[in-house]
Symmetry: C2
Subunit: 230 residues, 2 copies
DNA sequence: ATCAGGTGATGATAATTATCATAGAGAAGA
DNA sequence: TCTTCTCTATGATAATTATCATCACCTGAT
């Protein structure tokens, strides 16, 4: 991880989104004290169990939230793009992170000391209210996605995650999978072998094409039907 | 549902928990305008799709949060006791509820208009901050429980939910199940038949006793091991 | 009182998923 | 270079779970 501080808040398109109800002087205070961090693909941004010190949000990149289950296996909680909070869960309710965050692509975060955020929050109700809305939207999304995946079976889950990457992350029918088969398995809660098998089957049926990490969705309608019919 | 308004806030033990950072005049304003509602076991408190108008919390009773999946089947999101918010998800981020709430036991809710809460929140950062903490804690709990259940298999899930009711809800090794076998199935994401079979097996193995709705945990250690070893 | 419908229960069987084994390709390290 | 490790891939088999059928019991409705 590399720590830099060259970001100018004036040009930051995220500023207005996150801090719409903050006064100019409060923003100035944030901007001078915030730190920015660069991560390479694969780097760990947050380690489960660490003390929560910063309020972190993703400026650019793609990350995964995950935690290690009882049996040593990892479980992926969700994927997050910029404008989703990285510091979603536990941020206001816990002392320590109960999940980890790692970069799936080169990423940049903007960090603000929690005390700073809490100090502004305690003085500025409108800010806190807009914060609560955004945090809630993100956790709602996680829960609804969990329920969505839960009601599907193997093939439906595979179809669902392919459509998720295609539509929500890359907005294209052809994309490089940012995760390994193993990570897909950790997200949908199935074994690697079955993930690989399902992808192979989808390829054999002419629904997708696979070139190494690249996936091309050939027959989106059928993929959609598989996703919906479990 | 019956609407009453006889609750006196002075004696309300929940007041200080939820509204610790609220001024006396703000509390008075809340107390005069809040409404209280009584529900019988089985009553629906919130219907999925309804407009969110009130901030609702549970005074007494036990409820379930659930939503209807694509295939018509219902999925139970979580169970909630007093001091857990009922209006957890979507409350600050959505216009309409994306889940339903029903009473598993006779329950009483205290309702406050959302505008009232938002109005206090926008003027009182400390209040909003303590609110965000509580809402986050509850949604965190849901997500962690989801992950916990997800990594277990049928027997582990059954053991887990029995221990959950025993320890978290009733604090006793003997209790009446507040939910049907079907509802357990809807929570753990398995079929009713398999839930019933698992309970029968646990009974045959002498780990629990079943008298109609009553469950008695005989061998808690073994149940714990089953829960942990999936 | 009787009927319909929901719930709990159990068995037989089918479908789904996990586990184990094996193998090639590529990456990282000695 | 050679070894080791991880990832992708596939097959065979075992374990797990779902589906279907049947039945008893209870409750509410007509």
């Amino acid at each position: 991880m590399e720590s830099i501080n060259t970001c100018n808040c004036e040009g930051c398109e995220l500023k207005s989104l996150f801090f719409e109800n903050v006064t100019t002087s409060e923003i100035e205070s944030i901007c001078t004290r915030k730190t920015e961090h660069e991560y390479s693909k694969g780097d760990i941004i947050i380690q489960e169990g660490e003390a929560i010190q910063d309020f972190i949000y993703l400026k650019t990149g793609l990350v995964k939230l995950y935690r290690s289950g009882n049996n040593g296996k990892e479980q992926i909680i969700c994927f997050a793009l910029p404008l989703d909070f990285v510091s979603l869960l536990s941020i206001f309710s816990e002392q320590k992170y109960n999940y980890s965050v790692a970069a799936l692509e080169d990423s940049v975060t903007c960090n603000i000391r929690m005390e700073e955020v809490k100090s502004i929050a305690s003085q500025n109700g409108k800010f806190t209210l807009s914060l609560i809305e955004k945090v809630n939207k993100a956790t709602d999304r996680i829960i609804l996605d969990f329920l969505e995946v839960k009601q599907k079976r193997l093939y439906g889950r595979i179809a669902y995650i392919l459509l998720y990457f295609s539509k929500k992350i890359y907005n294209s029918k052809s994309f490089d999978l940012p995760v390994s088969r193993k990570e897909i398995a950790e997200y949908i809660g199935m074994t690697v072998e079955n993930v690989i098998r399902s992808l192979s089957d989808l390829r054999k049926d002419g629904i997708i094409k696979i070139f190494g990490p690249n996936i091309e969705i050939v027959d989106e309608d059928r993929l959609l039907r598989i996703s919906e019919l479990s």
